[in-house]
């Protein structure tokens, strides 16, 4: 698992690659939280290269969404593969976090 970070003005794009499971979810949390600086106004998490996520990873996404919500920073997800999309739907997270088909759509909405 790896988190790559890109800045588009005040929007931070975090691209997650690989697998997030119970063995590396703490590392995922550290990388994601660590990437989000004070001056960020919106966060787009690109899951296009995420092969697998379990409840341990969803817990981190929810934690980060809560932290950002308290700071009035928006968060959205994009480019989910079908199985990853299913997991977000089963968890109900698709109803509380915006999900876009592409990073461009997410950036347009965040900008």
């Amino acid at each position: 698992m790896n988190v790559q970070v890109d800045h588009h003005d005040k929007v931070l794009v975090a691209k997650v690659e690989g697998r997030v499971d119970s063995s590396n979810s703490q590392d995922f949390e550290r990388q994601l939280q660590g990437a989000i600086g004070e001056d960020v106004q919106a966060v787009v998490v690109d899951l296009g290269q995420l092969a697998y996520i379990s409840s341990a990873g969803l817990r981190v996404v929810l934690l980060v969404a809560k932290t950002l919500g308290q700071r009035n920073v928006s968060i959205s997800l994009c480019a989910l593969s079908d199985p990853v999309q299913s997991v977000f739907e089963i968890s109900g997270f698709n109803r509380i976090i915006q999900i876009y088909d592409t990073q461009a759509d997410a950036l347009a909405a965040a900008g």
Partner: protein, 139 residues
């Protein structure tokens, strides 16, 4: 035709990626559809993670026994451990799927995934061991 995977791993989180890899390899050999493989790997990780986190013993102090049997129309997954008695399908808290971000509780999701993604689930306590059984149909 059926193919079988039988593993015994110490009750440590770090052991679980190796279990996932072995199950994925079986899925490739057996030609499981991608969503079936994802459901099985996820179900197994969620159940085994619960055993490690809530089983009571120190990490590495006991074993988790995992058996995956792939037949023509279904995959059967058995997980046995000697931790304290715990029926995940009836004792784990239900997540509130409709809560807003700030109210949404962390946790409770793993068992929910298993219930939704598997076609059959059952729990029994046999000879001082927990036995979780899951069945996923291949189509």
């Amino acid at each position: 035709m059926s193919a079988n995977l039988h593993l015994r791993v110490p009750n440590r989180i770090e052991e679980l990626p190796g279990v996932s890899e072995a199950v994925e390899a079986l899925g490739r050999e057996e030609g499981w559809p991608q969503d079936v493989t994802y459901a099985i790997v996820l179900g197994l990780e969620e159940v085994a993670t619960n055993v490690v986190r809530h089983g009571g013993g120190e990490p590495g102090s006991s074993e988790i026994e995992i058996e995956v049997t792939s037949s023509d129309d279904e995959v059967r997954i058995e997980v046995r451990d000697s931790g304290k008695a715990f029926d995940p399908f009836h004792e784990a808290p239900e997540p509130d799927l409709d809560a807003e971000v700030q109210d949404r509780q962390i946790g409770g999701l793993g068992v929910h995934f298993v219930k939704v993604l598997m076609d059959e689930t059952s729990y029994s306590r046999e000879g001082g061991r927990n036995h979780v059984s899951m069945v996923k149909r291949r189509s």
